[in-house]
Amino acid sequence: MDNPIRSLVIVGGGAAGWITAGLLAAEHNADQGVLAAIPKLTISLIESPDVPIIGVGEGTWPSMRLTLQKIGIGETEFLLCCDASFKQGSKFIHWRGQTAANRSFPDSYIHPFSLPIGQQELNLCPFWLPHQQDVAFADAVCQQFQLAELGLAPKQISTAEYSFINNYGYHLNAGKFSQLLQKHVTEKLGVRYIADHVTAIHSQQNGDIASLSTKSHGEISGDLFIDCSGSRSMLLGEHLQVPMISQQQVLFNDSALAVQMPYPTADAAIASCTHATAQSCGWIWDIGLPTRRGIGHVYSSAHLSDDAAEQQLRRYLTADFGASAASSAEFRKLSFAPGHRALCWKNNCIAIGMAAGFIEPLEASALALVEWTAKALSSQLPANRAVMDIVAARVNKVFLQHWQQIVEFLKLHYVLSQRADDDYWYEHRESSSIPTSLQDALQLWRYQVPSAMDISHSDVLFPAASYQYVLYGMGFQTQLSGSQKPSLQRKAQQLFNENIQRIQTLKQVLDDNRSLLQKIRQHGLPTI
């Protein structure tokens, strides 16, 4: 049983497979990007040559910067190869819904990637509450709100690769991203690429996977198998029979229509945030790359027919691209079962990406979870089979915590809505569809602002600030009792003023997204 873990076999390319291969190889087989003479691990990636990659996750979190850096890909190369642009957060439009009481406030808000100013010293949220009629929460506590709204880049041409002025992730072309990763990981990090079909899976007596049969590469054995086969979940789901846990009773969306639209003009502005515009039974994403916009309607098939979903999407396109472009656009239909596997790691098999679970891309959590799982595997890689189950149990525990948080955090966006245009929104607000711990938290937040105490584990995907951005962006009311200490009030006022000053300065010196990308094309970003 104490067989050392030396040979890793990844099934499935796509971003999940290649990110995992890259992180594992960079951590265990290379030092500062240089491949070791005798690599510790043998890493192979098997990919069916004719299975199309589903282009999910065209938006990333800021964590992707660190992931790319670890894998050893330069930011200039990445930006240019993947048609990438900078993502500074998500903008939610028409989620709150107009009522008689809130008609004078704009029905949109931003969940920026930057934390509130002075986060280390002071939770500014209680000090903002008295001013909520005058200034949006994100605007008061975070310079990124205004700068992102103005379409300004999160850094300058003189800012080093992966460094920032405002925290950012990326919008990218998922197909080109996988190609770049594949090229880098096979050429620089020694990962073996096998283009072949897996035809059979062979087990050991203890249920571990022993080997895979392939059409033309014979039998491929390994010590640890990584399932990146997408929603098919070939190893963990089909073979090891780990069941799906459906989350459809909480998050109804299970269908999407996707389209790519060229910009109306070559110099059109590139948006700084993913736009998510609420519809009668779902929402429309809008992601600006330098070359095109990726737009899609994600909805609940139980509430809306495909035809009606298509009509709503065409209506959205008409506003920006004109009636003729909108009516001739061709959509790609995707269906998914919202939920995740009961475990991500069983026996000697761990699933990463859609093979482990998938949910609507409302906060672009798909690639973030890929990165987290791949890093967890890479940093805790068991030395031998004997200790593997201990590591697996730990990873599984956090995997489920992350999924619970993702489901509840996404649900929060719906629960707070006052939209009344379809049963969809009413059903989202019915308590039977709301996880108990989220109901409890909402009770508490009527009297106190979200804090780190509300999150039950460390290493979180969404910090307390994320809850604040969404709650107060949606117009949630918190009634604090008593007043704040005068010394802290002065400190808060100082931070609010500092935020305003920083915005004024940065407005002068930041380029818009397209101009900066143009400069990067011309000069490259400095490496230091």
Binding site: K519, P526, I528
Partner: protein, 245 residues
């Protein structure tokens, strides 16, 4: 304001260039670009660091004259207190330009002299004449042409120097903390210098490659130039004393 024009003996016949030094002529510079081929002269007087071009993000070596924007501590009234003035300052108001010419049906690039006719050094009344009364370049203009030529090749070489340094990860950001005699503290950020630990750890091959291009010498001259910070501090403290006294 700047107005760049291709220098020609017809339009610019009457122009003169003032060669005195002074803030009025744009010499109140915090720092100026330099290049390895003039490091030997520069390091005798000024600290050499690296700085990023705000338009391109590219690093380039600079000679430092002060601690803040528009502060040139070597400039006192109309006198520059040191004998060597870096070429990138001395060449003003002239610039190097590129011109495409056709020769025997083949297009090629030729370097030409440009002038900023709005530069405060440009005058019709005083200074060095550019052209002789009956045609031909003045000795001053010939001197300028030679200077621009040196600067052009120096800056090209400098780019390769910086690329080598970056490839070997020999540059690092640093913050210069200074305390003046009056007790005030200042921090200067946005400058880069040679990482001496990385330099010490270089392989023999890397050192040989640097040496063959003359860059090893440039690296050590840049390092040695750091002691000139003390001269800058002395000048700054003298200024403070004069202001107080």
């Amino acid at each position: 304001m700047t107005k760049i024009a291709l220098l020609n003996s017809v339009e610019h016949q009457p122009l003169k260039v003032i060669t005195e030094r002074g803030a009025a002529y744009g010499d109140n510079l915090w720092f100026t670009p330099t290049f390895p081929l003039e490091f030997r002269s520069v390091q005798a007087q000024y600290p050499i660091f690296f700085h990023k071009d705000q338009q391109t993000g590219k690093l380039y070596p600079v000679a430092l004259f002060g601690f803040s924007h528009q502060e040139n501590l070597f400039l006192q009234s109309n006198n520059w207190q040191h004998s060597y003035i870096p070429l990138s300052v001395l060449r003003l108001p002239f610039l190097i330009g590129q011109q495409t010419v056709r020769e025997d049906g083949v297009e090629h690039q030729q370097r030409v002299i440009h002038i900023d006719v709005e530069h405060p050094r440009v005058s019709k009344a005083q200074g060095e004449a550019l052209f002789l009364p009956f045609g031909g370049n003045s000795p001053y203009l010939e001197q300028v042409a030679g200077m621009l030529e040196t600067l052009h090749f120096g800056l090209q070489d400098s780019q390769q120097f910086v690329e080598q340094l970056l490839a070997l990860e020999l540059l690092e950001a640093f913050a210069l903390d200074v305390q003046l005699d009056d007790g005030t503290k200042h921090q200067m950020i946005g400058f880069y210098t040679i990482n001496e630990d990385k330099l010490k750890a270089l392989s023999a091959e890397a050192l040989t490659a640097l040496h063959q291009r003359g860059y090893l010498q440039a690296i050590y001259m840049a390092l040695a130039s750091q002691s000139n910070i003390r001269n800058l501090l002395k000048l700054k403290n003298q200024l403070l004393q004069q202001a107080a006294g």
